[in-house]
């Protein structure tokens, strides 16, 4: 709170709506701000998860031409039938312009403790063989972390993510109400004015992307609503057929039919894929799912690519797996289900072409910075009021240190995972997991650093470390692979080149932040008025009360 606002709270009457909304905004934002920041930044980079995955699999050559799904599918299917025989269901995602592998997963024929067991592997579309390269989860880790974190049960984690997203939505709405002149504030920026500048930066970042921030938070809640808001579902969807009908409104995955026991060869996939291509376009094939391969009841489902339309609602062509004959075409669902599909698609942004994808990335980065500036502002506002800035009270100390690790530390950890991708020995057992462990180990070290060093120095040091970790990655790539940046640029490999140039841009951003933090002179003039305004109502200042 600013001094003038503090004066208002001194009056005994009810506080204005802007004041209460401001308090709500501050606390809803602060309490889960660190989690939100991590969700925002990992979500932001996930808009380029395919490119990150490509960079993390340097052994796979740059894909000049998108291969024909009608040729790739049977190639990979042959391998999958060897790898997962008797699997009741396996699925392959076809390569596209941004993705040079075939990602597959399958259900094991047996269960473990009554739970289904799944396997997964990544295939090279050119050879149909398993990718012969370093074991890595690629950009998938950031994507998963974004909504289910790590080292904790997936359900708990998704609840936590939803809980934080709800706080975010509350922070957005209360933040808008707090604003007196949202339009004017958008054109107001006061450089080098300490707290005012932070506030202006926070406002610009928030208002600029407001429709996006509101959309992304709300649609994020929608993606997990089956879990968090199941009450209507449990009230009226009670029979297996109802459950299946609801599922069919949301997903292209069909339940596996009962096996007949009679062995019959799976029909060639080429013909089925070509029919799907005739309907949706040559390079618009998404997933190919095969149920009961080798059984007389086999069926094949083909879906269009997610890049093709702004909805995630189920569409598919269903084929008889033995005769190859088309059995069903699904191309629409109910209105609410379609709305849900559009919200999913808006959140995931997989329909976006390169330009729109960059817009997604930039405005989402602005959202990340909105959360970050909000967190920093909490300390900036309160530092000038500290009785002794050298020895702040515990809450202030904690917020400040967590900010450093959550913001500067996370950049280092994320870059660090890319370092681990290049440096961990190829033969290391559970290598893909160790890449992820490296991320958390590095993040932990930055937290320790943030707690042990003086705050300002910790900020500057960690920001410079992040800058170095990002800037040196393209050089590390020169030393550890045969795909140096100049080669990528000359051979039009913009997945590699684009990512490395972006790393440099991000490194420059961190350098700028480091320089500005170093030059920053906090105003530590004690304000005697402060003590006078500690009233029972101002819960955000009472911790400082002597």
């Amino acid at each position: 709170m600013t001094a003038s606002e503090n004066k208002k709270t001194k009056q005994t009457g009810p506080r204005g709506i802007r004041q209460t909304m401001s308090d709500l905004h501050i606390w809803a934002g602060l309490l889960v701000g660190w989690v939100l920041y991590a969700m925002f930044i990992t979500g932001t980079v996930s808009y380029f998860k395919e490119e990150i995955s490509q960079w993390m699999r340097p052994e796979l050559a740059h894909q000049r031409v998108v291969p024909d799904a009608a040729e790739v599918a049977p190639r990979v299917a042959r391998e999958l039938q060897q790898l997962a025989p008797d699997s009741p269901q396996w699925s392959m995602r076809m390569p596209d312009e941004r993705n040079n592998v075939v990602s597959t997963f399958w259900r094991a024929p047996s269960t473990e403790n009554g739970r289904r067991v799944f396997g997964s592997a990544v295939f090279d579309p050119a050879t149909g063989l398993k990718v012969d390269g370093r074991e890595t989860n690629g950009g998938e880790f950031f994507y998963r972390f974004h909504f289910q974190f790590h080292y904790m049960p997936v359900l708990w984690a998704r609840w936590l993510a939803s809980f934080c997203a709800m706080f975010m939505l509350v922070a957005i709405v209360s933040g808008v109400i707090t604003h007196k002149k949202i339009f004017v504030d958008f054109f107001t920026f006061r450089w080098g004015k300490g707290q005012r500048s932070w506030l202006d930066a926070h406002n610009v970042l928030s208002v600029l992307g407001l429709p996006f921030h509101a959309m992304i938070t709300y649609t994020g809640l929608v993606t997990l609503m089956m879990m968090t808001m199941p009450w209507g579902n449990s009230a009226v969807i009670n029979t297996p057929s109802d459950r299946q009908a609801l599922q069919a409104q949301m997903s292209s995955f069909l339940p596996a039919p009962k096996p007949s026991g009679e062995k019959l060869e799976l029909a060639p996939l080429t013909g089925m894929v070509q029919q799907a291509q005739a309907r949706w376009g040559t390079h618009n094939i998404g997933n190919i799912t095969v149920n009961l391969a080798g059984d007389a009841h086999a069926q094949v489902t083909i879906t269009p690519s997610e890049a093709g339309r702004v909805s995630h609602s189920p569409q598919y062509m269903l084929f008889n797996g033995v005769t190859g004959e088309l059995r069903e075409v699904k191309d629409h669902v109910g209105g609410a289900a379609e709305t849900r599909g559009v919200m999913f698609a808006l959140h995931l942004g997989r329909f976006a072409d390169t330009t729109l994808r960059w817009l997604y990335f930039l405005v989402s980065l602005a959202g990340t910075a909105m959360v970050g500036t909000g967190l920093v502002m909490w300390t900036v506002k309160r530092r000038s009021k500290l009785p002794n800035p050298q020895k702040p009270y515990f809450g202030f100390w904690l917020v400040e240190r967590l900010n450093i690790a959550a913001i500067a530390g996370l950049s280092i950890a994320m870059a660090g995972m890319l370092w681990a991708n290049r440096l961990l020995p190829l033969a290391l057992d559970k290598r893909a997991e160790w890449e992820i462990h490296s991320f958390f180990i590095i993040w932990g070290v930055t937290l320790l650093w943030a707690m042990l060093r003086p705050a300002k120095r910790a900020w500057v040091e960690l920001l410079w470390a992040a800058c170095a970790a990002l800037a040196l990655l393209p050089l590390l790539n020169v030393l550890t692979t045969d795909r140096p940046l100049w080669h990528s640029v000359l051979s039009d490999d913009w997945s590699f080149a684009g990512l490395e140039l972006s790393l440099w841009a991000l490194a420059a951003l961190h350098a700028l932040l480091a320089v500005r933090t170093l030059r920053h002179q906090p105003k530590s003039k004690p304000q005697p008025r402060f003590r006078a305004v500690v009233t029972p109502n101002t819960e955000d200042t009472q911790k400082a009360a002597p």
Binding site: L169, V173, M226, M229, G232, N233, A235, V236, G334, A336
Partner: protein, 107 residues
């Protein structure tokens, strides 16, 4: 808060008076807001559409009700008003949800 501060019963009472309404609002916002959102999601099944669309519509609407409830809880003058407002909104939703929850299926 130090032990000295809540040492005497009187001080403890004063502290409770100060923190109580705030805690009450937090419970109203998180718990009450969720309950209101859940009731909305059930009542929405009565909307004139098939029950699958109704279920999905209810889920999507629920978050808007939730955020509205939280804002209400902190915007009004007292914790009591906050609870009363939530209850007033909950009564019609509960009445609408009752038959749905008890299996008298809508369309």
């Amino acid at each position: 808060m130090s032990l000295r501060m809540i040492g005497t019963p009187r001080a403890a009472l004063a502290k409770a008076r100060q923190v109580g309404p705030l805690l009450s609002r937090i419970v109203a916002a998180i718990g009450g807001g969720y309950a209101l959102a859940a009731l909305t999601s059930i009542a929405a099944v009565l909307l004139p559409m098939d029950k699958f669309q109704g279920v999905l519509t209810g889920m999507m609407l629920s978050f808007i009700v939730y955020v509205g409830a939280v804002i209400w809880v902190f915007a009004v003058r007292s914790a009591t008003r906050a609870w009363v407002g939530l209850l007033v909104a909950a009564i019609p939703l509960a009445l609408a949800s009752w038959p749905v929850w008890n299996g008298v299926n809508a369309a």
